[in-house]
Amino acid sequence: MIRFDDVTVTYPDAEAPAITGATFEIPEGELVLVIGSTGAGKSTILKSINGLVPHFTGGDFSGRVTVDGRDTRTSPPREMADLVGYVGQDPVAGFVTDTVEDELAYGMESLGVAPDVMRRRVEEALDLLGLAHLRDRPLLSLSGGEQQRVAIGSVLTVHPRVLVLDEPTSALDPPAADEVLAALSRLVHDLGMTVVIAEHRLERVVQYADRVVLIQDNQIVTGAPADVLATSPVVPPVVELGRLARWSPLPLTIRDARRAAIELRGRLAASTWRGGDSPSATQVAGAVTDLVPSYDGVPALRKVSLDVRRGEVVAVMGRNGAGKSTLLASLAGLRKPAAGTIFLAAGIGLVPQEPGDLLWAQTVAAECRDADRDAGAADGTTRALLAELSPGIPDLQHPRDLSEGQRLALVLAIVLARRPGLLALDEPTRGLDYATKRRLIATIARLAAGGCGVLIATHDVELVAEVAHRMVVLADGEVVSNGPARDVALTSPVFAPQIAKVLAPLPFLTVGEVKRGLAAAG
């Protein structure tokens, strides 16, 4: 269905090609997962399928991409629109109209589909993606998961043979992500559509994949998921566990891993290791009491009380719109409380969902200088912090050209220059690959060990399992659970990380803990 023939792409002003000599084939009716580290060229591969590369991005393009026999060199994206549906990383950026129904119809209008057919297809798409109750709603009033489903629906209505999605679940809470992935897998199985997905959070998608395309060091490996993941540098925790325990074939799903883990569970049950110790400090770094942030209409939080001790890492979870971001914003003083009190022992540093919002200088060096001045810190403080968090970023780089991980490091350095007693992170792992995530986890652990309180709003259960001491679950603006992360994670199927699901009822959350447990078992 899709054939890449020795494709090399070099973007304008880039020194090295984004992808080199890519040659592979994707058969019809498969769900294909494109994986690789940040900057490996996943988005370039995806954009080449409908011709956005090179027609829209410019640059040097050699080789040939054909979809259903149509060559992207001669067919620009608009001529591929009936064949390939493309949904970019940020669904909102791709919305052309302003209500759900109009957005679903837009593509068909451009292709000149007959009005009665359009009407029927819109109704079908509304049902298929569970959007019927939202049909008149403005797009900007929808939650992230709903927006993502509208974006998928808006390309589905033209009945493409191929659907291409760039990180469709990265902004979604676990249930919303499952919703989107279930819809995609239904498209593959019921309609025989070919679906190509790039995704960092492999733990969510790999069980749906029929084939994996791995981009690594300019090499492209394709094959069955189990074969490719056996050697891949990016793997979900369950595969990491499988590698550690030397299971063969490598399990990709929780079910397979549980079956393979009977012997491992026996060994771990005999282990003396029973969880790490939580911080003993009792000094509060930041707290809210009976907080109701200012609102109009519906309060985002309803009398929430929560405290973060020094040295403690607290994760706030809950579905999109549960009030996580509002809690962080209120703590940072961006929202005035309508009721309740906010206490901060030594200030707060907030890293917002879009870290790029905090960057406005032209170079990294200028950004660091500004941050020193804003924070009243000694010259070079921010630069030194940055060098510690992410070494090797050149001074004259434009902040826009940094990778996701580097940008996050720069924003962290800027925020930390103010020496806050509490660090608040809003969705910090969005768009990060596993290696960058590991570095972030190490940074958070180090800051906490240094006595900083850390509050993380996230959907990433694996991050929580790695780093959080306590987990708070918000629903509709109320705290529905608040306890040690291990207890909450082990008792809730939604918030349990993969390792916990495989090893339940044993209290292991991460592969690192399993290693320690095995070591303690001798």
Binding site: L52, S110, V122, H133, S141, T326, W360, D476
Partner: protein, 377 residues
């Protein structure tokens, strides 16, 4: 009469109705007729405006209209210049240098002059009211959706531009939050520069993203007309619109030559229509659930046209009541009765659809997420 399902009237019908009323208003200074037009538009808006953010625009335009009258009266009081014998008050005359000999600042204010400028201000205010009524009755986006094919590209450009404003507001909010987070307290030019550059950069990035998304979804794929058709369309439409703009001068200004008003308007409309017909032929695009144009639309448009015609037919003496000598304005029978026809859309237009009640939990959740987005994303 058959059962009438609730639906929104075609935006074009409302605009025709409002424009014809505005034309009627522009052809008279009789305060009785002008006040009648305000009452008519006010009543129709009150009974047929949908619950949308735009529906408040009638009150807004009404306020602007009142300001117009106020400004007109103030200017008259200061500069004066109209003839009259009934002096109400005498303001002190401000001496001006001799090279401004024709201008007089201050001096007597006459009842005649005051009435003349009040009539004039009222006329402008009522025209604004009519535009406000059209805005309140239809959303500008629905009007753009109903634009004829020849204006499609222009419509897209306006739609994209309309989306810029709320996005820019959101971006400014995010940037101000970011500055608070970084603890920066700039003032003045530095602060504006610090906000403006990232907002514009963001808008530029977004427009590139949007262009890519539109291209990927087939925008401009079938719209390729031959160059000749494109040029004919553009020439006809442009000439027609220009003629119509020129005709408004002829219609509004009493001193304009007689041939300038109605003939230019009709000719311009014909040219534009021809342009639309030629432009529509290239096809290739279809429209999802277009607003239908049925009997109520025809009737609403006709009531407007009838009202305007009635006013245009009125005797000039009654349409432009004398202010020198000052007389009580007469009530012209034909124009007044014709205007009353224009209130009928309050019943002719189909009843408004009730806004679908969203499930309470979804609504609550969406509001929560919207607030979260506004603050932190």
């Amino acid at each position: 009469m058959t059962h009438r399902l609730p639906r929104l009237l075609h935006p074009g019908a409302w605009w025709l109705w409002a424009t014809t009323l505005a034309i009627a208003a522009s052809r008279t200074t009789n305060p009785l007729l002008l006040v009648a037009i305000i009452a008519i538009t006010g009543y129709v808006v009150a009974s047929r405006r949908p619950a949308s953010p735009w529906s408040a625009s009638y009150a807004m335009f009404l306020t602007i209209g009142l300001v117009c009258i106020g400004v007109r009266l103030t200017l008259f009081a200061l500069v004066g210049g109209a003839p009259g014998t009934h002096i109400l008050v005498r303001l002190p005359v401000v001496p001006l240098p001799h090279w401004m000999a024709g201008v007089r600042l201050g001096g007597p204010i006459t009842a005649e002059g005051l009435a003349a400028s009040a009539y004039d201000g009222l006329r402008l205010g009522v025209i604004l009211c009519c535009i406000g009524a059209a805005n309140a009755l239809t959303s500008p986006r629905r009007l753009l959706k109903s634009l004829p094919g020849a204006l499609y590209e222009a419509g897209v450009a306006v739609t994209v531009a309309l989306a810029f404003a709320p996005q820019a507001v959101a971006a400014v909010g995010r940037l101000r939050a970011a500055r608070r987070i970084r603890g920066r307290h700039d003032r003045g030019v530095r602060r504006i520069r610090g906000l403006a550059i990232p907002v514009l950069e963001g808008a530029l990035d977004r427009s590139v993203d949007l262009a890519a998304a539109m291209d990927a979804r087939g925008f401009g794929r079938n719209g390729a007309a031959t160059q000749r058709v494109r040029r004919t369309t553009a020439a006809l439409t442009l000439a027609g619109l220009l003629a119509m703009v020129a005709s408004t001068y002829g219609l509004v200004a009493r001193s304009a030559p007689a041939g300038l008003g109605v003939p230019l308007l009709v000719g311009g409309a014909a040219l534009t229509a021809a342009g639309f017909i030629v432009g529509a032929k290239r096809g290739g695009r279809t429209r999802y659930r277009p607003d239908p144009w049925r009997l109520p639309e025809w009737l609403v448009a006709l009531t407007g046209i009838a009202a305007a015609t009635g006013v245009l037919l009125g005797p000039a003496r009654e349409l432009w009541p004398s202010t020198y000598p000052l007389v009580a304005p007469p009530l012209p029978a034909v124009p007044f009765l014709a205007l009353l026809v224009a209130v009928l859309p309050a019943w002719i237009a189909p009843p408004l659809p009730r806004v679908r009640a969203a499930g309470s939990t979804t609504a609550a959740r969406s509001v929560g997420s919207r607030q979260a987005v506004r603050v932190a994303s």
